[in-house]
C-alpha cells in the first residue's frame, strides 16, 4: 500500500518537474527579450539605442540573473518556484503568486459548483436513460446530449446571459466574486459538462444491469428499486476518475465562461495578461493549472488504491485498467 502511494507520489513529482522544464523551455524559446519588455514603457523606448539604455538593459539582465548559464538559471528559477515565488507582473509590478492566490477561490468555487451541477444532471439523466433504455425518454436524452456536446461553450454562455441578464433581468452583470453571481456561470458550465457524464453513467448502469447478480436478485423477487440501488452503487465507482478528471478539465475550460460572465478567476486574469504579453503571469497561470491537475490525478490514484485492492500490485493500475 505505502510503496504504491510512494511511487505515485514520485511519479507526480516527476511529472511536475518535467512540466516546469517545458514551461521554462517555452519561455526561453519565445520571441522578444524579457528585459527589453520590462523596460518597455514610453520614457525608456525614447531612450532606446543610447548607451544609457544599453547599460540599463545589461544592469537589469545581471540583476535578473539572465546573463548566467541557462542550467543555472533554470535551477535558481526552480528554487524560487519551490518557495512559492512566481515572479512579478511586468504590467502591474505586483506579485504573480499573490495575484493568482487572490483569484484562485473564484475559479475553484465556480469549478466545484459546476461539478456538482454536472454530477446531479449526469446521475439523474443517466439513470433515466438506462431505465428507459431504447424508449422515447432514452432517445430524447441521447439527442439532447449529442446536440449539447456539439454546441460551443460560448454560445450557451451568451444565450444564458442574453436570457437571464438582458431579457428577464434576474442576473446582474458585474465583476464581483459573490454568491449571488455564481449560479448562472456555474449552471452553464455544469450543463455543458453533463452530456459526457450522462453517457458514461448510462453505459455503466446498463453494464451492471446485465450482470448475473442483478438477474439473480430479480429472480429472487427482490424489489426493483433495491436492485437498481445496488447496481447504481457499483456503477458509480468508475465514475470517480471521470469526475476528478473532468474537474481538471473544468479548470482549463472555465476560461471561456469566466470571460463571458466577467468572473474574476485565474482564467480571466491569464487571458487579460496574454493580450498584454505579461510573461510572468502566463507562466504562473500555467504552473498553477498544471499543479492542480497533477494534484487531482494523484488524489484519484490514492482514492482508487484505497477503494480497489486489485490495484496494489500493478504498476500503472489506474491507466492499465482501460486496456
Amino acid at each position: 500500500m505505502h510503496t504504491v502511494l510512494l511511487r505515485k507520489l514520485l511519479e507526480a513529482l516527476l511529472t511536475l518537474f518535467f512540466a516546469t522544464l517545458i514551461i521554462f523551455a517555452l519561455i526561453r524559446l519565445a520571441p522578444g527579450d524579457p528585459v527589453r519588455l520590462m523596460l518597455g514603457h514610453p520614457g525608456e523606448i525614447a531612450a532606446q539605442g543610447t548607451s544609457a539604455y544599453d547599460e540599463k538593459v545589461a544592469e537589469l539582465r545581471a540583476e535578473l540573473g539572465l546573463d548566467r548559464n541557462i542550467a543555472v538559471q533554470y535551477v535558481s528559477w526552480l528554487g524560487r518556484l519551490a518557495q512559492g515565488d512566481l515572479g512579478t507582473s511586468i504590467f502591474t509590478g505586483k506579485q504573480v503568486g499573490s495575484e493568482i492566490a487572490a483569484r484562485l477561490p473564484a475559479t475553484v468555487t465556480l469549478s466545484l459548483s459546476a461539478l456538482l451541477v454536472q454530477i446531479a444532471l449526469g446521475l439523474f439523466f443517466g439513470m433515466v436513460a438506462s431505465l428507459r433504455s431504447g424508449k422515447l425518454a432514452d432517445q430524447l436524452i441521447r439527442v439532447a446530449c449529442v446536440a449539447l456536446a456539439s454546441t460551443p461553450a460560448f454560445v450557451v454562455g451568451l444565450v444564458a446571459l442574453a436570457l437571464f441578464a438582458v431579457k428577464y433581468g434576474v442576473y446582474e452583470i458585474s465583476s464581483d466574486f459573490s454568491a449571488a453571481r455564481l449560479w448562472l456561470p456555474a449552471l452553464t458550465l455544469g450543463v455543458l459538462g453533463a452530456p459526457q457524464l450522462v453517457r458514461i453513467m448510462r453505459a455503466n448502469l446498463l453494464t451492471e444491469f446485465g450482470k448475473i447478480y442483478v438477474s439473480s436478485a430479480q429472480s429472487r423477487g427482490l424489489d426493483r428499486k433495491r436492485v437498481v440501488r445496488h447496481a447504481a452503487r457499483n456503477a458509480l465507482i468508475p465514475l470517480v476518475t471521470m469526475v476528478a478528471l473532468s474537474f481538471a478539465g473544468l479548470i482549463g475550460g472555465a476560461v471561456v465562461i469566466e470571460s463571458i460572465f466577467s468572473w474574476p478567476g485565474i482564467g480571466k486574469y491569464a487571458l487579460d495578461s496574454i493580450l498584454v504579453k505579461d510573461y510572468p503571469v502566463i507562466q504562473g497561470y500555467a504552473l498553477v493549472a498544471v499543479l492542480m491537475v497533477v494534484l487531482i490525478h494523484f488524489l484519484v490514484d490514492v482514492v482508487y488504491s484505497a477503494l480497489d485492492p486489485r490495484i496494489h500490485h500493478k504498476g500503472e493500475a489506474g491507466r492499465e485498467e482501460t486496456v
Binding site: E11, L14, T15, L16, F18, A19, I22, I23, L26, I27, L29, A30, P31, G134, R142, V146, A147, A149, S150, T151, P152, A153, F154, V155, L158, A162, V166, A203, L206, T207, G210, A248, G249, I251, G252, G253, V255, V256, S259, A270, L271, S273, I274, L275, K277, D278, Y279, I282, Q283, Y285, A286, A289, V290, V293, V294, H297, E316, T322, V323
Partner: protein
C-alpha cells in the same frame, strides 16, 4: 451488452454523412455559391438583420455574413483537418512504438512524456503558446498538434497491447517476422479503425476548442474571413446584433454535430474493442 448504443442506429451515421456532405459542398463551392464577395464592404448595409437579401444578415462593415461564413469554412475546416492528421500520425507512431516495446525504456519514456502532456489542460497550453508566441491561427494549430496526439497514442498503445495477445501475433513472431513488418502488417491495421473513430469525435472537439480560443481573441485575427475571427468580431456586438455570431456558430454546431453523429454511427458498427475508452 455488446452493442451499447444498439445497432438500430444507422440513422445517426446517415444523418451525419448527409449533413457533412451538404456542408462540404457549400463550403468547398463557396466561390460559386456565396451570394456576395466575402470581403466587400458596404457602408449602407451595416449590421443588417437576416433578410431575403442577406440570409444571415451583415456585419459591422456591411459584409454579407453567409458569404463570409462559407468562405471562412475553408480555412477553418482545412486547418483543423491538417492539425488532426498531424496529431494522428504522431499518435499512431508513438502508440505503436510504445506498445510494440511494452515495458522497455522507450515505452517508459514515451508514457512519461504523455503523462506530462496530460497534465496540461489543452486550453491552458494553447493560452500559453498564444501568450508567449503571439496570437494567430498558426500558433493555435501548433498548440493543437503538440498536445492532441496524446489521446491517439494512448489508444493505439492499448490496441497494440490487446493485439499482442492474439494468435496471429504469436504466429508472426514464431515465423520470424521483423518488428517493423509486424507493426505494419499486424498492428497498424488493427489500430487504424478505433483510432479513426476516435479521430472523428476528436475533430468535433478540436473544432470546438479552436472556436473557443478564437472567440477569446487568441485565434485568427479579424480581417480574415475565418470562423474564429468572425466569432471574436461577433462577440463585441453580440447584444446589439446577435446574428453576427449566430451565423458562424450555427455552421460550427452543424459541422461538429455531423462529426459526432458519424463517430457514433461508426463506433456502433466497427468497434471490435467495445471496452476501449473512446
Amino acid at each position: 451488452m455488446k452493442r451499447r448504443f444498439n445497432s438500430k442506429n444507422p440513422a445517426s451515421l446517415i444523418v451525419g454523412v448527409v449533413v457533412l456532405a451538404i456542408l462540404a459542398i457549400a463550403i468547398l463551392g463557396a466561390p460559386l455559391l456565396a451570394p456576395y464577395d466575402p470581403v466587400a464592404q458596404n457602408a449602407a448595409e451595416r449590421l443588417e438583420k437576416p433578410s431575403e437579401k442577406h440570409w444571415l444578415g451583415t456585419d459591422r462593415f456591411g459584409r454579407d455574413i453567409l458569404s463570409r461564413t462559407l468562405h471562412g469554412g475553408q480555412t477553418t475546416l482545412l486547418s483543423s483537418l491538417l492539425a488532426l492528421c498531424a496529431a494522428l500520425a504522431i499518435g499512431l507512431l508513438v502508440g505503436m512504438a510504445a506498445g510494440m516495446f511494452h515495458g522497455s525504456a522507450l515505452d517508459h519514456i514515451l508514457m512519461r512524456i504523455i503523462d506530462v502532456l496530460l497534465a496540461f489542460p489543452f486550453m491552458v497550453f494553447a493560452m500559453v503558446i498564444a501568450g508567449l508566441f503571439g496570437t494567430g491561427l498558426v500558433h493555435l494549430l501548433l498548440a493543437v498538434v503538440s498536445v492532441w496526439w496524446v489521446s491517439f497514442a494512448r489508444l493505439t498503445r492499448s490496441v497494440v497491447l490487446h493485439a499482442k495477445n492474439e494468435t496471429s501475433y504469436a504466429a508472426a513472431k514464431v515465423l520470424g517476422a521483423s518488428n517493423l513488418a509486424i507493426m505494419r502488417k499486424e498492428l497498424l491495421p488493427k489500430a487504424i479503425s478505433p483510432v479513426l473513430i476516435l479521430a472523428t469525435f476528436e475533430l468535433g472537439t478540436l473544432i470546438l476548442s479552436i472556436a473557443a480560443l478564437s472567440f477569446l481573441g487568441l485565434g485568427a485575427q479579424p480581417p480574415a474571413p475565418e470562423w474564429g475571427s468572425m466569432l471574436a468580431d461577433g462577440r463585441a456586438h453580440f447584444f446589439q446584433a446577435p446574428h453576427i455570431l449566430i451565423g458562424p456558430a450555427a455552421f460550427i454546431v452543424a459541422t461538429v454535430l455531423a462529426f459526432n453523429l458519424i463517430g457514433e454511427g461508426l463506433r456502433d458498427r466497427l468497434d471490435p474493442y467495445e471496452k476501449l475508452e473512446l
